[in-house]
């Protein structure tokens, strides 16, 4: 009897954890530029029954994380999602320490500059500063950049133990998809560049016409963040010039952020 009760408790507890996790996944499934998502679309993305999805959505809406769109079977993100993100960013020593340094870097090289940390398979942008006179850039705090396909991700992976690097690279090399081999080759090239000069670059692999030059920032406790400059210069020669010119300032900025955050 006791065993049975314990088993039931464990099942109940797991179900609760699943519900909490699923609720978080609903919030994560909204992508930049997406306004409202229908219940059917959210259910499809999360591979959940529509009734379960609707209960999750109603609960999230009751707590103002989502807003039920009138006259449509759809939901959009709402105030509590914004306030939560804002609370993280306003309370982060890393963001506070990095922001003025990113602004200096952005102004010096007329770039958009980012601070990113790892979030599952992505690099999550925590801070974005635009240099004076730069054109519009679709990146901002909360944007996610895939680790396998962008320089910020490559720079983070370079700071990781060999075992972690292997977990990323082994399946890519074993894949039957030639694109995965290309990504793996780009990561090895990035590792080489990081050893040689401390930075790595990627172009057009996240969005057409958008390039990154990235440098890791070692943080206390063995963790790593990455800072990156963003440009939209397609001409290869001009791109090389930007990357070459930015490297010393990027490394200087990474060093300053490391010292600033450790002092906090």
């Amino acid at each position: 009897m006791r065993k049975r009760t314990q088993a039931l408790d464990a099942t109940e507890s797991n179900r609760g954890i699943d519900s909490l996790q699923r609720g978080m996944e609903v919030l994560r499934c909204f992508q930049p530029g997406e306004n409202a998502l229908t219940v059917a679309e959210i259910a499809r993305r999360l591979d959940l029954p529509r009734t379960t999805t609707r209960r999750l959505l109603n609960t999230l809406a009751a707590h103002d994380f989502l807003f039920s769109v009138p006259d449509r079977d759809a939901f959009r993100l709402h105030v509590a999602s914004f306030v939560l993100g804002q609370a993280v960013l306003s309370g982060s020593e890393l963001v506070r320490g990095a922001t003025p340094v990113l602004q200096w870097l952005a102004n010096r090289h007329a770039l958009h500059c980012l601070l990113c940390v790892r979030d599952r398979g992505d690099m999550l942008v925590l801070a974005h500063q635009a240099g004076a006179g730069t054109a519009h850039c679709p990146l901002r705090a909360g944007t996610r950049l895939p680790i396998a396909r962008t320089a910020p991700g490559h720079a983070w992976l370079w700071t990781q133990p060999v075992a972690t690097q292997g977990k990323w690279l082994t399946p890519m090399r074993a894949s039957a998809n030639p694109a995965e081999h290309t990504h793996a080759a780009a990561i090895y090239q990035a590792f080489h560049d990081l050893v040689q000069g401390g930075t790595c670059a990627s172009f057009g692999t996240w969005r057409s016409g958008v390039g990154f030059i990235a440098a890791p920032v070692a943080l206390a406790g063995g963790d790593s963040a990455v800072i990156a400059g963003v440009h939209t210069c397609a001409a290869p020669q001009e791109r090389s010039r930007i990357e070459h010119e930015c490297t010393p300032a990027l490394l200087q900025a990474a060093g300053t952020i490391r010292r600033e955050v450790r002092r906090v």
Binding site: S13, G16, I17, S19, L20, Q21, R22, G23, M24, L27, R28, F30, Q31, P32, G33, E34, N35, A36, R54, R55, L56, N58, T59, L60, A61, A62, H63, D64, F65, F67, V69, R76, L77, H78, V79, A80, S81, F82, V83, L84, G85, Q86, A87, V88, L89, S90, G91, S92, L94, V117, D119, L124, V125, L126, P138, R140, A141, G142, T143, R144
Partner: protein, 269 residues
């Protein structure tokens, strides 16, 4: 943020609410607006949940990566991953992004604090706050929660509701704020909004601070935004607020609404 301005409202639960998710969300909200580190005991007190439940939730949210545990203080706080819970998608398309530039210019030009807020339960949550260089007045930041019936923005929001909805919200407020004289203040604000499209409050949130507010009329705006500004009472008594600040605020509102129209609606639908 002063505690006197903040409350933690409990929303009305839908009949099919998932309890563990609702509790997890309440827990996450308890870290707003500044992500102060909190112990399980403090969280239990703030959310009115049993401590054992809080302990389970904090452990789960830590395992999922949305909270981090601080060894030195034995407290929790939101981890960076919580930024991935919709903030990025929201920040690229929201009214705030489009309103911010207008608001900052307005705050600088007039040396005051201007706020964009949304009603959440019994409070008005400040989504965007811009202040002029010398603006001292009320100490609010993005995420601050102002008690709805005491804030000019809350009163303006109430005035924008249909009569049946207004009556329902009023009943909720009467329960939540039994000591506040709601009727004269809310009725006066509604009359002011009907007459001039803005309302003025005198020292309702903090002494020596007067406020002016107007609802934003964006057909597709989620949850109806309200624009408000605060000024020092010694410089701007009620008469000057009505004669000068109110019309200026309406001008700002018109510019924001025009921007939303150009962009195709408040949320970029």
């Amino acid at each position: 943020m002063d505690d006197t301005l903040g409350t933690f409202p409990r929303a009305t639960a839908p009949s099919d609410e998932i309890r563990v998710l609702a509790r997890g969300l309440a827990l996450l909200k308890a870290f707003c607006p500044r992500n102060a580190a909190r112990s399980n005991g403090e969280l239990a007190q703030m959310t009115a949940l049993p401590k054992a439940t809080v302990s389970r939730l904090t452990a789960t949210l830590t395992r999922l990566g949305y909270l981090e545990y601080l060894d030195e203080s034995a407290r929790y706080r939101l981890a960076h991953a919580a930024v991935a819970l919709g903030f990025g998608a929201l920040s690229t398309q929201d009214i705030r992004v489009r309103a911010r530039e207008h608001m900052q210019r307005f705050a600088d030009d007039n040396d005051l604090v201007v706020v964009l807020a949304v009603r959440e339960g019994n409070v008005m949550v400040c989504h965007e706050v811009c202040r002029g260089r010398g603006a001292l007045t009320i100490r609010v930041a993005a995420g601050s929660r102002l008690k709805l019936p005491r804030s000019a923005m809350g009163r303006a929001w109430m005035a924008s509701l249909a009569p049946s909805r207004r009556a329902a919200v009023l009943r909720e407020l009467e329960l939540a704020f039994p000591d506040d004289p709601l009727h004269p203040a809310l009725d006066e604000a509604a009359a002011e909004i009907a007459q001039s499209r803005f309302c003025v409050t005198v020292g309702s949130l903090e002494p020596d601070v007067n406020s002016v507010a107007t609802p934003i009329d964006a057909a597709r705006s989620p949850g109806a935004y309200v624009l408000g500004c605060s000024v020092p009472a010694f410089r701007y008594p009620r008469e000057r607020c009505v004669a000068e600040i109110g019309p200026l605020l309406l001008g700002l509102r018109d510019r924001i609404e025009a921007g939303l129209e150009t962009a195709g609606g408040a949320g970029g639908s």
